[in-house]
């Protein structure tokens, strides 16, 4: 995909995310819209995956540790062909394989359960250790939220990733600056995540525009050796929908019909039902 195509794809996926949440009438739009380009950089550009063979042993593992943002993951997985796009409209419904938080036993393409914050990063450490032990060359990516790094477990995981020199592990921060109760700084200051991960022994890269897929791809492709990689992506919560952008109030709230139609209009999508 060229840059224009990636941007069109991002708009279409954002529309899918908003539509899913409208149908579910629950879920987390803000963080889903902020991490979309990170997922796109991985699934469309960098990661080795095979939608026809979701459990392909040589695939790269992608852990959405901020599991509440799974609408973005589901939209991408459906677009990649892991399951029919129509399934998206059953998000969070009884009997749907699309659970409120990612479930590896139900959804094709989901590598790891997540959503209990902090645990995904730590599981990713285990996946990376497992790959090293078995001398497998696939890579492991963990996407974390900035509120999530308030969990001490993230730092236990970071410590162990550096200790075991997991250069097959990349931790990507969706740094939108907001969490449920307000800004990170109001709730519990996280300081400078890049400096913190550097101090924990990571090779760190700052991506100033975390909605520039190409910039994320370049950061992902930068080689490291002997240490794990950390990429801080500066993003906007609710990005792409003007009234959701940078609003903590849109962390975990579904749009009503009026908001839904307004969002789709902004994203240039014609509603057909």
């Amino acid at each position: 995909m060229n840059i224009a195509q990636q941007q069109d794809k991002a708009k279409a996926l954002r529309a899918d995310i908003v539509k899913m949440l409208y149908h579910a009438q629950s879920g987390h739009p803000g963080g889903s819209l902020s991490c979309l380009e990170i997922l796109m950089a991985l699934y469309y550009n960098v990661a080795k995956v095979d939608p026809k063979n979701p459990k392909w042993p040589e695939r790269d593992r992608i852990v959405l540790s901020k599991g509440h943002a799974c609408p973005a993951l589901y939209a991408v997985l459906a677009d990649k062909g892991y399951f029919p796009r129509e399934d998206l409209w059953n998000l969070r419904q009884f009997g749907s394989h699309l659970q409120g938080h990612p479930d590896m036993q139900k959804t094709p393409g989901v590598d790891v359960n997540s959503g209990s914050l902090g645990q995904g990063v730590s599981i990713a450490v285990g996946l990376a250790l497992g790959a090293k032990y078995k001398q497998e060359s696939h890579k492991v990516y963990a996407i974390v939220g900035d509120g999530e790094i308030q969990e001490g477990l993230v730092w236990e995981a970071a410590m162990s990733a550096a200790h075991y020199k997991l250069d097959n592990l990349t931790v990507i921060l969706d740094n939108n600056g907001l969490q449920i109760d307000g800004s990170n700084d109001e709730v519990m200051s996280i300081g400078d995540p890049v400096e913190k991960f550097k101090a924990f022994g990571f090779e760190c890269i700052l991506v100033e525009d975390g909605h520039n897929t190409q910039a994320i791809v370049e950061a992902l492709n930068r080689p490291v050796s002997g240490k794990p990689k950390f990429i801080c992506c500066k993003t906007h919560k609710g990005n792409g929908v003007s009234f959701m952008t940078d609003q903590a109030g849109w962390h975990g709230k579904a749009p009503n019909e009026e908001q839904y139609l307004e969002a789709l209009k902004e994203l240039g999508v014609v509603v057909n039902g």
């Binding site: 590896m104 036993q105 590598d111 790891v112 359960n113 959503g115 209990s116 902090g118 645990q119 730590s122 599981i123 990713a124 450490v125 285990g126 996946l127 990376a128 250790l129 497992g130 790959a131 032990y133 078995k134 497998e136 001490g152 477990l153 236990e156 995981a157 410590m159 162990s160 200790h163 075991y164």
Partner: protein, 310 residues
């Protein structure tokens, strides 16, 4: 096997023995390998031993990731810091997904002794028992500990092995069956059934002998698997005997006593009592002194049985 070793030494030896047969077995510890006795495995297979430092939550989730990679991790630390501190990690990262992680959690119950109440895990069985898909073994001697490790490897899913600290005699034999979910009746009797687990088995056997001298016929059941619990055996005991007494080195809330009560409720008119830690915390002292103070003795078992039969 030497007769007098601790369950934790048996656990360490079992890991080395099983590790020789299966390269996928890896062992994780949290800076306690000299106490959990996984140091034997670390020495035998340094490339398969992973120390996570004093960070149990990370160790548990990383174990889940390793299990997803096809490995069979044995997570080893003290019961309080595994089942307790890392509880929600065991629930969400392991049990919820049925990850093939084994927990060999040592220093359970009051037998930690001098370390005191902060380190005496009296709730680990209760915590693990409410997790769907979790298998729970409470071995009573070194031989049974080794069998529990072997049996855990036959199960595709999470298993908790409760490894007590003290040195103790073997009371089971090499050829005693160890079938998960199938209790061993160590002694038959038809007045009272003493259903015990772990370190309480010797006390139960001593109590049964004392009762016999007083003309009371007591059965002793070794409930080495707390989950899945052997319902058939419990109901058979409850139907043959006038009373059932459970004995555990654990809180009477949520452990063996609760599990047996849940099976008997509505299905048996037998008298019933639970011996264990009666909803209080432990404290420092020699294990024998603590067992006495908390009623974990053959004497208390005898008295409780007789009171029920009166």
């Amino acid at each position: 096997m030497a007769d007098k070793i601790s369950l934790r030494v048996a656990y360490g030896e079992a890991l080395v023995e099983q590790g020789a047969k299966n390269n996928n077995i890896v062992v994780l510890d949290a800076d306690l390998s000299n106490a959990t006795m996984t140091n034997a495995f670390a020495k035998a297979y340094p490339g398969r031993f992973f120390n996570f430092g004093i960070a149990e939550a990370n160790m548990v989730c990383a174990a889940a990731g390793m299990a997803h990679s096809g490995l069979i991790p044995f997570v080893s630390t003290f019961a309080l810091f595994g089942a307790g501190r890392a509880y929600e990690m065991i629930r969400n990262s392991v049990s919820y997904v049925g990850a093939n992680v084994k927990f060999g959690l040592s220093h359970s119950g009051l037998c930690v002794g001098e370390d005191g109440g902060s380190h005496q895990s009296i709730e680990d069985i209760a915590l693990m028992r409410v997790l769907p898909g979790m298998t729970i073994f409470v071995p009573c001697d070194p031989i049974e500990t080794k069998k529990a490790v072997a049996a855990a490897l036959e199960i595709d899913g999470p298993v908790f092995i409760r490894v007590a600290r003290p040195v103790c005699d073997n009371i089971t034999q090499a050829d005693t069956p160890f079938i998960p979910g199938k209790a061993n009746v160590m002694r038959s009797g038809n007045d009272v059934a003493i259903i015990a687990t772990g370190l309480m088995i010797p006390e139960a056997l001593t109590a049964a002998e004392a009762l016999e001298r007083e003309g009371v016929s007591a059965a002793v059941v070794n409930m080495h698997t707390i989950k899945p619990i052997d319902e058939d055996c419990i109901l058979q005991m409850a139907n043959t005997c006038k009373a059932v007494v459970t004995v555990e080195e654990h809180s009477v809330i949520g452990g063996l006593g609760s599990a047996v009560a849940e099976v008997m409720a509505g299905k048996s008119n037998a008298g019933f009592a639970r011996i264990g830690i009666q909803d209080k915390f432990g404290r420092s002292g020699k294990p024998a002194k603590l067992f006495e103070a908390y009623g974990l003795t053959s004497g208390n078992i005898v008295g409780t049985c007789k009171a029920l039969l009166r």
